[in-house]
């Protein structure tokens, strides 16, 4: 086995595998290191693989071959209080046509499949290998060492696609310490239910899927909860900011339990069998907490580069990871052609990122980071909305107010004028 590679990729997640695929197709000698027994063995996420142009381009009609669960065509946003729920449902027939807007997937299956596509094109995949440290030569990064094993792997370029806890980026001096303020923790319970029961409860047919985002079910913590339908199971979980979790003194599984016990959710999961429990961190600091993404001999892609965002309605990460992986690979191809692996040469990776939808979207939603930290968003507003609707619908023979007046009165009572104005500005700036 050649121990010298054109490119060494740390991590066979979506970012790493797409980079490997691109590089292998360009005829380069590329090696992927994965610490899991197989790609995806260490990976969990909520569940939605978003439509990603670069994936459709590189693997046309991938949906016919990839292990997908369901096409998500129904999106629900639910504002919850302990005993009631207000939800908005969006259904779009176009979401059911290729290229599908989003599909639910299981990471151990999807990540293994994607890495396999890179291997078919000639990439070398080494599983059971945890990269431990970086090797430097003449001030440039030129390889990695593997934990618990003799020997080392050397190459011209290292792509760190090692996920949110990127020790590679840290060791390269590209990022500051991991801080609770920049990260969220996600936990998820996978619950088994027969396919027919899922279709019946969520009003779905065949391989249609639903995605529900809940606000107000995180025990007052900043964050949100989710539910995704898979073919024969549903994923229920939540993402909360680490610093708000720390300050609250609550345990994450107790908070998730409240969601599972909520009367509206309980109906949906009745009779389900717990199949698997998982946890993972998620970059939530937005563009401000991104690390440097390149140095001599190395580039950083995907979660490792902090490329992930949520605006309360969408949570995007896997599409940004795959796209950034390909951009890093394109840069590596240019560098290898030029025989120049210096920071100056690799700086074109940053330019490519800036020019892509990734950084544009992260900039567009940069204020969403602050909005998602509004405690009122996950507690007071859902309560307000359900209170208003309760007053609207409850019939008890007392005189009624007009809807708008009722809303104004309730909002002033709960939040106060100052709070309303400042939240209005924050939410407006983040989404409008």
């Amino acid at each position: 086995m050649a121990k010298y590679f054109d490119v060494i990729i740390v991590g066979a997640g979506p970012a790493g595998s797409m980079a490997a695929l691109k590089l292998a197709r360009a005829g380069l000698n590329v090696c992927m290191l994965e610490r899991g027994q197989h790609p995806g063995a260490k990976n969990m996420f909520g569940g939605l693989l978003h439509n990603t142009p670069v994936l459709n381009e590189m693997l046309p009609s991938f949906w016919e071959r990839a292990p997908l669960e369901r096409y998500v065509y129904k999106k629900v946003l639910a504002f919850m209080t302990p005993d009631s729920a207000v939800s908005l449902t969006f259904e779009n027939g176009n979401f059911e046509q290729p290229p599908y807007n989003g599909c639910t997937v299981f990471r151990p299956a999807f990540d293994s499949w994607l890495a396999g596509e890179a291997v078919k094109e000639g990439a070398l995949l080494l599983c059971d290998c945890t990269a431990e440290d970086l090797i430097r030569k003449n001030g440039q990064i030129s390889g990695v060492t593997v934990k618990g094993r003799e020997g080392e792997l050397r190459g011209n370029i290292v792509i760190a696609a090692d996920g949110v806890m990127s020790f590679m980026a840290e060791k390269a001096g590209l990022r500051r310490d991991f801080r609770p303020g920049d990260l969220g923790v996600g936990i998820k319970l996978l619950l088994g239910l027969p396919e027919d029961t899922i279709n019946e409860r969520f009003h779905l047919v065949r391989d249609e899927g639903a995605d529900i985002s809940f606000l107000g079910t995180t025990g007052g913590l900043c964050g949100g909860s989710f539910l995704y339908t898979n073919r024969e199971s549903i994923s229920v979980g939540m993402v909360v900011h680490l610093d708000s979790l720390k300050a609250s003194g609550q345990a994450p599984y107790d908070v998730l339990d409240e969601l599972l016990e909520h009367p509206q959710v309980k109906k949906l999961i009745k009779g389900a069998v717990p199949l698997e429990y998982s946890a993972h961190l998620i970059p939530e600091g937005g563009i401000k907490s991104m690390p440097h993404v390149y140095t001599g001999g190395m580039m950083v892609a995907g979660d490792a580069a902090g490329l992930c965002y949520t605006n309360g309605i969408n949570l995007e990460g896997i599409n940004l990871a795959m796209t950034s992986g390909v951009l890093a690979a394109e840069t590596a191809i240019e560098a290898i052609e030029a025989g120049d692996y210096s920071a100056r040469m690799l700086s074109s990776y940053k330019k490519k990122l800036d020019g892509s939808f990734i950084i544009k979207d992260m900039k567009t939603f940069k204020n969403a980071v602050g909005m998602m930290r509004l405690e009122r968003l996950s507690r007071t507003y859902p309560q307000l909305l359900t209170d208003i609707l309760e007053k609207v619908y409850r019939v008890e023979g007392t005189p009624r107010s007009k809807l708008l007046r009722l809303a104004r009165k309730e909002a002033l009572k709960k939040i106060g004028l100052k709070g309303l104005v400042s939240d209005g500005i924050k939410i407006g700036r983040s989404l409008l």
């Binding site: 199971s233 720390k246 345990a251 199949l275």
Partner: protein
């Protein structure tokens, strides 16, 4: 949700070498012990009598939350050796 049962749902390939090492001296005087409540897999226990913090690394989900949340540098935390640790099947 009964946390005690949760790890049974998930598969682990346990390494005899722990990947988390706790500096018990630092933890003895910690004023928040945030790791105990934060860990999604309930791996940490603080014994009030002996004032010792212990960790069950065998059912760690390798999320890293404890490492990020501990502001006293009491944790020597790294990924397990390749192939060991949590091994998700579905999810």
């Amino acid at each position: 949700m009964n946390v005690e049962n949760l790890p049974q749902l998930t598969q682990f390939q346990v390494d005899e070498q722990p990947h988390i090492i706790v500096n018990k001296e630092i933890c003895r005087d910690c004023d928040h012990r945030a790791c105990v409540l934060t860990c999604p897999a309930n791996c940490y226990t603080f014994d009030e009598e002996t004032k010792l913090l212990s960790v069950v690394y065998e059912t760690c989900l390798e999320c890293g939350a404890c490492y990020v949340i501990c502001d006293k540098g009491a944790l020597d935390w790294s990924y397990p050796r390749g192939g060991y640790g949590v091994c998700y099947r579905l999810t």
